[in-house]
């Protein structure tokens, strides 16, 4: 189906199912229960899962396949956001023209930056992309203020032209009248599920993005990119020119980043320069590595993982900790609270840094490798009985590339 092998089709169907059921799956605890903090099924967070998933999938096409570590992908994220907000300002609040523009402009940006940066490899390439991204960031803050509105961030004002704005058109981002922030809430005996239009819009795009990356992974093009990662010399002496391949990968991943940036602005009609800062590039690197660079599912898992912990860990506060550990003797509770403080609330970055270090040290293949190791463990347990698990693990990661 869709030019995919049977295994990949099953894989894609599972991903589609999981994505569509996210609002339910991420809401396992009843509302008001002590564990409700760990629910992640609210629109804002789910949108981020999908959007950063797209960002990481795109980044993985470059880094995971070719091994070129770009420190400048945040620039494309920012460009995408600005494009969408500009389309709001000039046309109307329909997100579609903006997203198309976001993909085009970020593609052009990526072409220009990639064309120059890809003349070098290794850390020199990383530094070149970093330099370009930091230049874009600094310029967006200073001289490009007419385009970016500097520190305030770009947003829609009442005196903007909005030439396509109809009489009754919504005053917030929408897709032909479907307002992004609208949700349908379902209350099922204590469980509260939110089905948000914005999330489903992002989810559909994310699935398309994932499908596209699946096709790239299975294509001769994807194979060439992996060949570039392992041996450029041989590639040259095989009659292939690495540059157009890496440039194409760079532009494709730049367009993914632009799309992700555009979606950020489609969910919340605001674009700020801080999205272009190198720490944002660092974040997508963390996501990709944490999940497993070069694997299909890894970047998405990594993005979900980081965004989940960012939101959940940073929400945890003393009252909640007390609620959990209050039953313990005072001394032990105090000790636990003291230690927990390092990892929750405002300090959640520490948790992220530590987790990230642990992954790089012990699990260079990321979460996907972890899952594979566990899968292998099960398979070894019951070589005969382990059939279904083994099959599931293989479906999670078909092909030798993973």
């Amino acid at each position: 189906m869709l030019g995919l092998s049977k295994k990949d089709t099953t894989f894609l169907l599972i991903v589609i199912f999981l994505t569509m059921a996210t609002p339910i799956l991420l809401q396992p605890f009843p509302e008001g229960s002590a564990m409700a903090t760990f629910n992640a099924g609210y629109p804002d967070l789910m949108q981020r899962f999908a959007i950063f998933g797209i960002f990481a999938i795109g980044f993985n096409i470059l880094f995971g396949l070719t091994g070129y570590l770009s420190f400048g992908h945040a620039a494309f994220l920012g460009v995408g956001s600005y494009s969408v907000v500009w389309m709001y300002k000039l046309l109307d609040y329909n997100v579609l023209p903006g997203l198309v523009l976001a993909i085009i402009t970020s593609g052009i940006f990526a072409l220009a930056i990639g064309y120059i940066s890809l003349r070098r490899t290794g850390i020199y390439f990383s530094i070149l992309t970093l330099a370009f991204a930091q230049m874009s960031f600094n310029l967006a803050y200073s001289v490009l203020t007419p385009l970016t509105n500097g520190e305030t961030g770009l947003q829609v004002y009442t005196d903007d032209p909005q030439i396509l704005m109809g009489e009754n058109a919504p005053n917030v981002p929408h897709l032909f009248g479907l307002v992004m922030r609208d949700s349908y809430q379902l209350d099922l005996g204590g469980w509260l599920f939110t089905f948000n239009i914005g999330y489903y819009f992002c989810a559909v795009i994310a699935i398309l993005a994932f499908y596209l990356s699946l096709r790239i992974f299975r294509s001769p093009f994807g194979m060439m990119l992996r060949a570039i990662k392992t041996n450029q010399t041989r590639l040259n002496y095989t009659g292939l020119n690495a540059r157009p391949y890496t440039l194409a990968a760079f532009v494709i991943s730049g367009m993914y980043a632009g799309l992700a940036g555009g979606l950020l602005a489609a969910m919340d009609p605001l674009a700020g320069a801080e999205r272009m800062q190198w720490t944002a590039s660092g974040e997508v690197i963390l996501m990709t590595i944490l999940g497993g660079a070069g694997t299909l599912m890894g970047p998405v898992l990594g993005a979900g993982f980081i965004k989940y912990f960012e939101n959940i860990f940073s929400k945890i506060n003393d009252t909640m900790l007390h609620g959990w550990f209050g039953w313990m003797p005072d001394g032990i509770e105090d000790a636990i609270l003291f230690v927990s403080h390092f990892f929750v609330g405002k300090s959640w970055h520490l948790t992220l840094g530590l987790m990230f270090m642990l992954v790089v040290i012990f699990l260079p293949g990321g979460l996907v490798e972890g899952a594979q190791r566990i899968g292998r463990l099960f398979r070894r347990r019951g070589r005969k009985a382990g059939g279904p698990e083994a099959e599931a693990a293989r479906q999670r990661n078909p092909g030798p590339a993973e």
Binding site: G3, L4, S5, R215, I216, R218, S219, P220, F221, G222, M223, M224, R226, A227, K229, T230, N231, T233, R234, L235, N236, Y237, T238, G239, L240, N241, P244, Y245, A248, I252, P400
Partner: protein
């Protein structure tokens, strides 16, 4: 007129004259060996042929076209394939993928954005690659990751990768370097078999006289960057100039 014509090639590295007035003609369909003691300029000459180095003066013509100034991938597209002294393969890819890549390069040229095709659906290319792997007796290893192959298998894989492109000229840089005698003999058989079956012109740079005299139809002896003699193996054996060049060399 040979398929490869090297005329008056000179190459200097600083004060060292690596190649001096090298003239060489490789006849189409032949196996031509270039031998010479260490530092004779064999590798430099080879690098000039594949575009890694550019000679200071002289010309290198391949099938009527100059290769000078062309990049390695362009020269490969002209029909010259190279096998390295230490096998250069795509270590992270499977054996099958290693052979598929040159097949695609042969069909599509230096670059084609085939992001919407699927490798598995390219049956024609797949069959071509499988036939090649069968030729080098590696079909049963097709799904192994290349890095896990033995050294001999890596070299056979590299030869398969070069051969599957059906090059007009195959350059081999010490194809038996560091091999045990049995492996060397296998390689010789393999090369002879390939030469007979596919009729590929070969140019072998070699240290091992056993290999050279088993395969070559013509031999060029290089010493201190200059060709001393070029002749058939029978005449090279016991040629006074060659003895002189190799005197003191442990061969």
């Amino acid at each position: 007129m040979g398929i490869l014509e090297v005329k008056d090639v000179n190459k200097r590295f600083g004060g060292l004259q690596a190649l001096g007035d090298v003239n060489l003609s490789v006849a189409e369909g032949s196996v031509h060996a270039i031998i010479g003691p260490n530092g004779a300029g064999k590798s430099t000459l080879l690098n000039c042929l594949v575009g890694k180095l550019i000679p200071d003066t002289g010309s290198v013509m391949f099938a009527g076209q100059s290769v000078l100034g062309r990049k390695p991938h362009e020269i490969n597209q002209l029909g010259i394939s190279r096998v390295f002294q230490t096998p250069e393969i795509f270590a992270d890819l499977t054996v099958m993928e290693n052979v598929l890549i040159p097949c695609f390069a042969k069909r599509d040229g230096a670059f084609r954005l085939h992001a919407f095709e699927t490798v598995a659906n390219e049956t024609e290319i797949g069959e071509q690659a499988e036939a090649m792997l069968a030729d080098v007796n590696m079909l049963e290893k097709r799904d192994m990751v290349a890095a896990s192959l033995s050294r001999g298998d890596k070299r056979r894989l590299e030869m398969a990768m070069s051969m599957v492109q059906q090059p007009k000229l195959l350059l081999l840089d010490e194809p038996t370097a560091g091999m045990a005698r049995a492996d060397t003999n296998n390689t010789i058989d393999l090369l002879r078999q390939i030469h007979n079956k596919r009729d590929i012109t070969m140019c072998i740079i070699e240290h091992d006289m056993h290999v050279v005299f088993s395969l070559a139809q013509r031999i060029t002896v290089l010493a201190q960057g200059t060709p001393l003699v070029e002749d058939t193996p029978e005449n090279i054996k016991g040629h006074p100039k060659v003895r002189e060049a190799y005197l003191g060399e442990a061969h």
